[in-house]
């Protein structure tokens, strides 16, 4: 078994639906989506125009599902999609699209372009046109359990350290808990403070929680690469664990696409609604804040801006929680013009940060200028966000431009300033 063009076309035939058809038929080539895409605004290269990134998908739609398209194909007016073409598009579909969904917000005819990209990736994945970085991350997630190849003993180790430093117990595989806490590999490896913060907050609020030794990983490279079968394998682990442990809630970590995978794609991948609720950590925190449980002992004085991760806010719908939370802990929060659902992507979402080719990295650095500009315009040296992947991408960007900006995670920030 191996990837092939036929499989790709076959997959596209499966996923093309009425919205895709309606979107393609509506496009008037106005190019306004380009103005909403950081890959275009920062490079000025028209090939990064979002709707252009799904051009092969349009051709397949036209050739397979429209009468005129079939006729055109039959008489040779419309050339079939080729491997070479898809290879050319790989860069456009993965390297230069973070599935941030900003284009879907501006399209005047209402096209949800990111919806189209997500479907197009189904074809790209099985036709073999995926960046190695994402492919290997997917393989590791399916075969080992996480995109970084992290195994439970290592996680257990981190948890033990967190228990030591907080003096709190972190339950594992405890049946009947309120919350099943998920983590992302990046958090475990790069930001273990997140786990400590969470333990403190749960303890304070008196909420029972547990981790699952066979489903600690929330990230889902399957949806980034764009394969529902693999995404289903990955998400099923969480569903199985949550049902086995009989939890009421599954807590999604800060990580953006993990939330997308479990909260919005999950039930559709396994083909049935969940018997539990999926909650993003910020939603829980905001609920606690409203209940008065989340009290601060002091506030951060530094002026700062917030980076709203695309998959959590614009595409995930966690619109209201972040601002009250940051105001809870920061004295000088400066709202920026393009905030909330209008935020600009960090440049590393949708699996892009897993692509480590020279070109991809150079492109990421280039488009990071939009974040740089936001920082400079606000005149601040501190940025807060709530997505592990955004944090890594932004750190890289800050390094690249040698900026001495402080980047903080919202949950940790809250834990740090919380009343003991």
């Amino acid at each position: 078994m191996s990837a092939s063009l036929e499989k790709g076309i076959h997959a596209l035939k499966e996923v093309i639906d009425a919205p895709i058809a309606s979107y393609f038929e509506s496009c008037v080539h106005c190019g306004l989506c380009a103005e909403a895409c950081l890959f275009y605004t920062e490079t000025g290269d028209p090939k990064y125009t979002p709707i252009h990134k799904v051009e092969p998908l349009r051709r397949v739609y036209e050739q397979e599902y429209t009468l005129l398209g079939r006729l055109k194909k039959a008489v040779g007016l419309s050339k079939p999609v080729t491997d070479a073409e898809l290879d050319q598009w790989q860069e456009l579909v993965y390297d230069s699209c973070t599935m941030c969904g900003r284009c879907s917000l501006v399209c005047p005819v209402g096209n949800d372009i990111v919806y189209m990209i997500r479907k197009f990736r189904e074809g790209m994945a099985v036709s073999g046109h995926v960046p190695d970085g994402i492919r290997s991350a997917t393989k590791r997630t399916v075969e080992i359990g996480g995109p970084m190849g992290l195994k439970w003993p290592a996680v257990a180790n981190v948890l033990r350290k967190a228990e030591e430093s907080t003096g709190l117990t972190i339950p594992v595989d405890k049946e009947g808990s309120d919350y099943l806490v998920l983590l992302s590999s990046m958090e475990i490896v790069n930001y273990p403070e997140y786990i400590e913060a969470l333990a403190k907050i749960f303890h304070k609020a008196g909420i029972s929680f547990t981790l699952a030794s066979d489903a600690f990983e929330a990230t889902n490279a399957g949806i980034q690469i764009g394969n529902s079968d693999l995404a289903k394998v990955i998400v099923s682990r969480i569903v199985d664990a949550a049902e086995r442990l009989k939890v009421k809630y599954v807590l999604s970590p800060e990580c953006g696409h993990a939330y997308m995978a479990i909260r919005w794609e999950g039930p559709n991948l396994i083909g049935r609604p969940f018997g539990f609720e999926v909650v993003h950590v910020l939603e829980l925190l905001d609920e606690l804040r409203q209940k008065g449980v989340l009290k601060m002992k002091d506030k951060l004085k530094d002026p700062l801006i917030l980076h709203d991760p695309c998959q959590i806010v614009r595409r995930g719908g966690v619109l209201q929680a972040p601002e009250p939370l940051i105001q809870q802990v920061a004295e000088n929060y400066i709202p920026i013009a393009d905030k909330q659902k209008w935020n600009w992507c960090c440049g590393g979402g949708g699996g892009a940060s897993a692509i480590h080719t020279e070109e991809a990295e150079a492109l990421r650095a280039k488009v990071f200028r939009i974040k740089k500009r936001q920082l400079e315009e606000a005149g601040v040296n501190t940025m807060v966000t709530f997505c592990a992947n955004c944090r890594i991408t932004i750190e890289e960007g800050l390094d690249h431009y040698e900026m001495n900006t402080k980047l903080l995670g919202l949950t940790e920030l809250l834990a740090e300033h919380m009343e003991d």
């Binding site: 009468l67 079968d229 693999l230």
Partner: protein
């Protein structure tokens, strides 16, 4: 009989000043400079009367009526005093062979100089047998008479464009003068009937300048057919304001609003009715409350109904229902094909494993 025209007029009690005044007005109507009125008067007053042969073919005599019943016989009628009308079946006293002889004599005496006026269309069906005079078909007579004519005036829509006889299905194979005669100057004076002053204007011009007036691409004198009825219509402001009579007896009709919606063909009809009017300037169709029929345009009879507004399709939605059904059927058929295709794709889905990601 062949003395200067002014003497003839004087004998009829028409003074020189009356004639001058008439020529001034005629020149004005023909959009000639004011000085031309005087030139016209002088030229015509002194003119020797040209021979005119008037051939009626497949016609209703309405054109002759229009000319001879014009309201001020002393004025429009003057034109008959300016010419020597050597043959006109309706008007001439002679009949039968006598009349035919008069025509032949005039043609012979004035060869190359006479003016030929034609009213009625010419049927070509059955070798022209649909209309014969003295046993000869109209087309034969026309060809023979045209041979020696200096110029031809096609009076009325039938002679100009074929008119009502040519209307679908045109059983007699009727055609216009210009369909048959190609080598003579022809003036078309369309209208059903034509406006008398156009006829007199053309004759006056011919008598004065020895040539035909400036014609448009349809052979009509530009002076009278240069603008549409709609352009010169006194109801035009209502059109511009969007005020339309919806029926012939509604408030809009009583208020004299635009008749566009009632099928007025004014916007596509080139004629001078709106300015010259009829019956000595008394009124004209639109002023009397009825839309223009477009009678001076080619094929006006078949132009989609007199009471259908111009912007309205002649036969709305004739095939629309059938087309809609066909579209729906095609759509449903494509839908079924598409759904079957998509379902097949889904059913033949082979689960993907990580190994499948490699090429």
């Amino acid at each position: 009989m062949q003395g200067p025209l002014i003497d003839t007029l004087a004998r009829q009690g028409i003074t020189r000043r009356t004639f001058l005044k008439y020529c001034a007005t005629l020149a004005s109507m023909m959009a000639l400079p004011p000085a031309a009125g005087r030139a016209m008067a002088e030229a015509m007053a002194a003119a020797r009367r040209p021979s005119v042969i008037w051939l009626p073919f497949q016609e209703c005599t309405g054109c002759t009526e229009s000319i001879t019943r014009s309201h001020s016989p002393t004025l429009e009628g003057m034109i008959f005093d300016m010419i020597s009308l050597d043959y006109q079946e309706t008007l001439m006293a002679a009949a039968g062979h006598q009349a035919e002889e008069a025509r032949h004599a005039a043609m012979k005496d004035n060869a190359g100089k006479y003016l030929l006026v034609v009213d009625g269309s010419i049927p070509l069906g059955l070798d022209g047998a649909y209309s014969c005079i003295g046993g000869r078909s109209n087309v034969d007579i026309l060809k023979e008479a045209a041979e020696g004519a200096a110029a031809i005036v096609a009076m009325g829509s039938c002679a100009s464009f074929g008119g009502i006889p040519k209307a679908n299905p045109n059983p007699t194979g009727a055609v216009s003068v210009s369909d048959i005669i190609k080598d003579k100057p022809i003036v078309n004076i369309p209208g059903c009937p034509p406006i008398p002053v156009v006829m007199t204007g053309v004759l006056a011009h011919y008598l004065t300048f020895g040539s035909l007036p400036e014609l448009d691409e349809k052979g009509r004198p530009k002076a009278f057919f240069g603008e549409t009825i709609h352009d010169r219509c006194y109801r035009r402001p209502f059109y511009d304001q969007g005020k339309f009579a919806k029926t012939f007896d509604d408030e809009g009709a009583r208020q004299g609003w635009c008749l566009f919606e009632l099928g007025c063909k004014g916007p596509v009809t080139y004629n001078a009715c709106a300015t010259v009017k009829w019956n000595g300037g008394t009124s004209w169709p639109v002023e009397s409350g009825h839309g223009c029929l477009g009678c001076s345009e080619p094929d006006f009879w078949d132009a989609g109904g007199f009471y259908k507004a111009l912007s309205v399709p002649a036969d709305p939605l004739k095939i629309a229902a059938a087309a809609a059904v066909a579209g729906a059927v095609a759509g449903v058929a494509v839908s079924f094909a598409n759904r079957a295709k998509k379902n097949t794709a889904k059913q033949t889905h082979e689960p993907i494993t990580v190994d499948d990601l490699e090429k």
